[in-house]
């Protein structure tokens, strides 16, 4: 609070239009359903995801097995539900980590400018040379299989993308008159950034969070698919897609199919959410 009684956080009001609202709601519903699976997956699964029963292997969808059974007779529906947690948690960590770090770096670079900015930007540029998937693979090569290596690597790999966008948005914000006004009144850079600039760019931050989540999920599930991340029998969706590969050749695509549907649904919902939330940024990312 200053002598002039200026409230923290000059917020700019945002208006949502009708059609956007519908899409937003739809995305919210989908993501909420996925969230339920993440939290309660194993609990609400009708059967034990790991229960093997060779006699009912490779069956199509039925009332007893909504998504059918896999090559060893496990219920696919239960496996998909149970697989929500490992499939989503990793990407969330990546998203939070990369967005957090990226925001820190982006705002710091935008605020300090000069040498610090140049250093940070150069550093980020070098990281740009490494696609996320490559970094994740190398991390696995160094640290061994499992979730830790790829998650850490993907967090680092996605940080520069977030940092670059946050930096440009923060720079724009910084050039607005209210920041100069606050500086003149004697507020510290830190206070201005945290209590005023951040809330005003929060929409972009949320959008980046959702977007990074989709990229992290795509790359992480690819790592799992390649057998370099989470190992079977954990029913991670990437692993399921891989496991289902043989079944496809035998005419039973259910495992791959339903796992794929869930993956695509989550990614599309999160992408649509991020588009609605933030400004359209032309950030280029690798797809794998």
């Amino acid at each position: 609070m200053s002598a002039l009684g200026i409230r923290a956080g000059y917020r700019r009001r945002v208006r949502f239009r009708g059609a956007n609202n519908l899409v937003l709601v739809l995305c919210g519903v989908v993501l909420a359903a996925i969230a339920v699976c993440v939290v309660l997956g194993s609990v609400i699964a009708p059967q034990d995801p790991n229960a093997v029963n060779l006699q009912i292997a490779l069956q199509g969808p039925s009332l007893a097995h909504l998504f059918g059974t896999d090559a060893t007779g496990r219920d696919i529906f239960s496996r998909v539900l149970a697989g929500a947690r490992p499939s989503i948690l990793g990407p969330i960590l990546i998203a939070v980590g990369a967005t957090g770090l990226g925001t820190l770096i982006g705002v710091a670079a935008a605020w300090k400018r000069g040498v610090s900015d140049a250093l940070l930007s150069r550093g980020m540029e070098i990281l740009f040379a490494f696609p996320g998937l490559l970094m994740a693979m190398m991390a696995v090569a160094i640290l061994g299989r499992g979730l830790t290596a790829p998650v850490v690597a993907l967090t680092i790999a996605n940080t520069p993308w977030v940092a670059r966008i946050i930096r440009s948005v923060a720079l724009r914000e910084r050039s607005l008159p209210y920041v100069a006004a606050l500086t003149v009144q004697g507020f510290s850079g830190f206070t201005i950034c945290v209590r005023h600039v951040l809330p005003n760019i929060s929409r972009t931050i949320w959008a980046q969070l959702a977007l990074t989540f989709t990229y992290g999920m795509t790359d992480l599930l690819a790592i799992n698919f390649l057998g370099l991340g989470v190992q079977p029998p954990t029913p991670d969706w990437g692993v399921l897609v891989n496991e289902g590969q043989d079944s496809i050749l035998q005419g039973a695509p259910w495992e791959t199919l339903f796992a794929s549907v869930f993956i695509v649904l989550t990614i599309v919902a999160a992408t649509a959410l991020s588009a609605r939330l933030g400004e359209e940024q032309t950030s280029v990312r690798g797809r794998a």
């Binding site: 490494f130 160094i142 891989n242 496809i248 280029v284 797809r287």
Partner: protein, 302 residues
């Protein structure tokens, strides 16, 4: 030049990270079996494992520049020999895919921008789906539909002979291209729409120039510039994405080599392939910069 710095830094990171990896290369070499001191000494001498980091790095880099990446831990033949037969497959795959991305992406984006209405909407929807489907998912779905169900394409392998290889690589190329086509399509659409609204387009129309000419020479040509930049980066990423596709389709390419060598801790191969990947990146980036400078006179090459 900027690119050289990147490659150098990358090489240090690549070499250094594996150097720091827990578990000595000895373990990888011997597949974890216990080994007596004499054999161990022999291995260390052979692979130069006792010298300090900098020496090993310089040694490695010196050889790498001449194309000698050492010997594979797993195959016990030179890394180059392991990589050589696989280069063609990956090269063809990435080339086919790049063509697909550029042609299909730019075409669909331009059409979506210029023709509003049902076609435009259909393209936009297709793009949204394309963006949401990860490559490995696309690979398997394509296999399920086009190989197993419809028998239009072979399921596995790269085939022999050029035409056969192209046929084998069609489905993998499409799978790899899907997300990128959608991305480039959307980018092209936005770029063309933005260009259509520009003042110089109104001026050209005001001068009475025919619409076709205005679109071709003033809208599309200008809109292509940012899309070209993005295409370069997208294609570079394809190089890495190839790893997923090659694994899914059981192709013998550099990508699947990378995956298998990671699974087997075959460090020299990992280093070599990673370095090649980064190199490809930088080279593609450079080529794209040159093309962009030709297209847009406002850009100057450093």
């Amino acid at each position: 030049m900027h690119g050289v710095v990147v490659v150098l830094v990358a090489s240090v990171v690549i070499f250094g990270s594996l150097f720091l990896a827990p578990g000595s290369p000895i373990t990888a070499l011997t597949a974890g079996r216990p080994v007596d001191a004499h054999t161990r000494a022999l291995l260390e001498a052979r692979y130069d494992l006792n010298a300090p980091f900098v020496v090993q790095y310089v040694h490695w880099l010196g050889h790498a520049v001449r194309g000698d990446f050492g010997t594979s831990y797993v195959e016990s033949e030179s890394v180059t020999a392991v990589m050589a037969p696989r280069i063609a497959t990956t090269l063809i795959l990435v080339t086919m895919c790049s063509l697909l991305v550029i042609v299909a992406g730019m075409l669909s984006g331009a059409v979506a921008a210029l023709k509003r209405g049902p076609i435009g909407t259909a393209i936009v929807v297709a793009e949204a789906i394309g963006l949401g489907v990860p490559t490995f998912v696309a690979s398997l779905l394509l296999i399920a539909i086009f190989s197993v169900q419809l028998h239009w394409f072979p399921v596995f392998g790269s085939g022999s002979g050029f035409i056969d290889e192209v046929w084998h690589l069609t489905l993998p190329s499409v799978a790899l291209a899907l997300g990128s086509v959608a991305y480039i399509g959307r980018l092209t659409q936005a770029s063309v729409e933005g260009e259509l609204r520009k003042e110089h387009v109104t001026t050209a129309t005001a001068r009475g120039l025919p619409r076709g000419r205005v679109i071709r020479r003033h809208v599309l040509r200008n809109a292509a510039i940012p899309v070209t930049t993005a295409s370069g980066i997208v294609i570079a990423y394809l190089v890495v994405g190839a790893a997923v596709v090659e694994t899914a389709f059981s192709l013998n390419g550099l990508g699947s080599l990378l995956v298998s060598s990671i699974a087997q801790d075959d460090f020299p191969v990992i280093q070599a392939v990673s370095l090649v990947a980064v190199l490809a990146f930088v080279v593609i980036g450079f080529v794209v910069d040159v093309i962009c400078a030709r297209l847009d006179p406002r850009i100057t090459l450093e």
